[in-house]
Amino acid sequence: MDHETTLTKTAAEQADSVERTRSGRCYRPNVDILEQADELLVLADMPGAKGETIDVKFEDGTLEIRAEVAPRQGDEHGYLLREYGVGDYYRSFRISETIAASKISAECADGVLTLHLPKTEAAKPRKIVVSAT
């Protein structure tokens, strides 16, 4: 199957189990998880979310990212084209124990949340020097 589709937003799979005190939809942000030498980087696409409205929680090995997005589009004359909706974001991950939870840091720019998850000392790749005898 060829990948000729417009990028679509997926609804958060746990949207029903997430306690929703706000009305509106909840979406699952696209995420890149990449591993560098001494940390894991999690990049989440959350357009429309600003630093203050993003909530990152790490508890018991589970990392949760949540963002509140205010509705932007008034219904002035109705839509001519509507390919995506505007709503909150939620996603959660299980993080293994090789992450130093106390040193997790996050920053947000242009609607992309970057999470730095530093690895514990034991998990960093270590070069072992081979000495010739």
Partner: protein
């Protein structure tokens, strides 16, 4: 009759809805709106005001110099380039965010004043305001009683 009325809570209907959602997510947007198939284009919402057309696209991770907007006649074309952010990557555990350049061309349903088109980019949301050409604005016509 086993299914007396359409109670959506019956497990059969829940299963049917789940399967529908699964399939519709594969072939098109789960919301039901199906645009023509384009290759990895950012999704757009277009709505109309009295004096302008508004086009909004979600383009996270893009700075304003990486967006190219042009209006030619009744076509709006938006080109967005999203660079790769990270270097020194050992491995990707998840890769869902598209990178590269994407172009979207939208056919506008009415004439716009190309000289006054404006665009703003905030938090990854691009909003393009296309003021309608004078001829396209709604005009109230007074009815005189003879």
């Amino acid at each position: 009759m086993v299914f007396g009325y359409r109670n959506p809570r019956l497990p059969f209907y829940q299963l049917r809805d789940e399967m529908d959602r699964l399939w519709s997510g594969v072939f098109g947007p789960a919301d039901g709106l199906r645009p023509a198939t384009f290759r990895n284009q950012p999704a757009a919402n277009v709505w109309e005001r009295d004096d302008a057309l508004l086009v909004e696209m979600e383009v996270p991770g893009v700075k304003s110099d990486q967006v190219d907007i042009s209006v030619v006649g009744d076509e709006l074309s938006v080109k967005v380039t999203r660079p790769e952010v990270a270097e020194n990557v050992i491995a990707y555990h998840r890769r869902e965010r598209p990178t590269g350049s994407f172009t979207r061309v939208l056919r506008l349903p009415l004439d716009v004043d190309a000289n006054r088109v404006g665009a703003e980019l905030h938090d990854g949301v691009l909003t393009i305001t296309l003021p309608k050409a004078e001829a396209a604005k709604p005009r109230k016509i007074a009815v005189t009683c003879a």
